[in-house]
């Protein structure tokens, strides 16, 4: 009794100190990675083949910036049209109507099978298949006629091809999101008498977005780079333009780097955007949202 009471107080009023576990292998791995990175950077700077002055001269050059704009236009328009089409395709595929279901299935099958580059060439050569397009009663008389060449410019053909191609993939992404929502959600909404359209908009879609967003962002990045394929239609997007420039000057590597760095920058912007949009839709799905990198940095600095 006396022994215990004399030795207790010291340990009781001072809680044992926490010592974090040490990870020596982490330091080794870090050192290895840093050495490799340093070697890579050294090569990039010292090898004259990269020709950084030419790179710098063309990075903000006017024709390159204009081409960048075309790439962005194709990406944004392709994504918007593609995802609108995708929502329709997903709704058709999930509908109980067997005809709508089959049409959606067939569309997806066909447009996922045909390589984008082949499809683009088809659209560009539409005028070869049909001289004129007629608007009117199906199989009946027509009201208006247009020459196909006027209707489908090469930019139009490119956008059409990208959007149709994109819709097939977007349809599957949207469908994946919708079927990932628990059936009880729709049932609860139906039991509350919430109208169909609002069930979809307010209950199903926001929850489906959690599954849709990462896949959709992936697809958007794919599309951004996929626009480089339309160079086959001689449209002045980024990749086509750098080809034009190095065709004249012969400086292939620095100009490919110009295009590469722009694609990397745009993808970075998309990825940051994705992070915040996903966070927005995570509300309620996680008990507490993790801090953003910015919040983490501020917390670390002010600590």
């Amino acid at each position: 009794m006396t022994l215990l009471s004399s030795s207790r107080p010291r340990t009781a009023d001072r809680a044992p100190q926490v010592v974090a576990a040490r990870h020596p292998w982490r330091w080794v791995a870090t050192a290895v990675v840093l050495v490799l990175l340093a070697q890579l950077a050294h090569g990039l700077v010292t090898n004259p083949g990269w020709d950084w002055p030419t790179f710098a001269g063309y990075f903000f050059e006017k024709s390159v910036l204009n081409a960048l704009l075309v790439t962005l236009e194709l990406t944004v328009a392709g994504a918007v049209l593609g995802f609108l089409g995708g929502i329709v395709l997903a709704a058709m595929r999930l509908s109980p109507n067997p005809v709508l279901h089959a049409v959606s299935w067939t569309y997806t099958w066909v447009f996922r099978s045909v390589p984008l580059i082949v499809q683009l060439l088809f659209w560009a050569n539409l005028g070869y298949l049909y001289d004129t397009l007629q608007f009117g009663v199906p199989f009946g008389p027509g009201f208006a006629e247009v020459e196909t060449l006027h209707l489908v410019s090469s930019f139009g053909a490119a956008l059409l091809g990208l959007a149709l191609h994109e819709a097939a993939y977007a349809g599957e992404i949207v469908r994946a999101g919708i079927i990932s929502v628990d059936q009880g959600q729709r049932e609860a909404a139906a039991a509350l008498g919430i109208p169909r359209g609002r069930q979809f908009r307010r209950i199903l879609l926001p929850q489906a977005m959690r599954a849709i967003l990462p896949a959709a962002a992936n697809e958007l990045v794919n599309l951004l780079k996929g626009t480089s394929v339309v160079y086959v239609l001689a449209i002045g997007e980024l990749f086509y333009q750098v080809q034009v420039v190095y065709g004249r000057s012969g400086r292939v590597v620095p100009l490919l780097m110009v295009a590469t760095v722009w694609y990397v920058v745009l993808t970075a912007v998309l990825s940051i955007l994705q992070y915040y949009v996903e966070r927005r839709f995570a509300r309620g799905a996680l008990r507490t949202l993790p801090p953003t990198p910015w919040q983490r940095l501020r917390a670390a600095v002010t600590k």
Binding site: D182, G184, Q185, E187, A188, A189, A190, A191, L192, G193, I194, P195, R196, R198, R202, I203, P206, Q207, F281, R283, G284, A285, L286, R287
Partner: protein, 255 residues
Amino acid sequence: MSHPMLEVRGVHKHFGTQEVLHGIDLTAETGSVTVVLGPSGSGKSTLLRCVNHLEKVDSGQVRVDGELIGYRQSGDRLHELSERHILRQRAGIGFVFQNFNLFPHLTALENIAEAPIAALRRSPSEAHGYARELLDRVGLADKASAYPRQLSGGQQQRVAIARALALDPKLVLFDEPTSALDPELVGEVLDVMRGLARTGTTMVVVTHEIGFAREAADTVVFLDAGRVVEQGPPAQVLDAPRHDRTRAFLSKVLT
């Protein structure tokens, strides 16, 4: 002519080749509490789901407050109503699910206010005001802005009950509201339900909580293999059951 709040007559339902309900008859007077008991797979959930037309009946009729649910009768034919019409009928019938089915991306308050805004076209401020009142009634006034995953199971089910009440339903159906809950959380949900029973809400409750049936029910219905085996006041069905199957079931539940 006065009519019961709920009238189920000759309801048959099958899934594939399996007949799940073999002609169910059931009535519940306005303001009454009906407890439905029965072994697993006896068709209790199916019966409740037929009442608000989440499942279509094969034959028979369901009437709530005298109105035929899901169909319009002309002569001796029943025509299924349009979805819009059915949704409107459902707005008058509350449903509380075993696993809550709260909308996880909406706060407790938004969960409750959603249906009045969507189905009754209430203004958001009015709907939110009423939602706060209901949250207060289920004892969760301080949880208005919590998301369902931030609530305990018992709290979630109380929000779900408030959500079912938000449309001022004539009838509230409960499908095993406490069987997904830890034992210590069952009491708080049953308390809310007892409160509702006292204020005259017409309720049909599927539950295995015999204690609740004994003190709150006006009628206890025992269902087995898709048939009503026995029904009557709790004192009769629970304490002096006439059928062997009821007795066998009760002896299992009570031990």
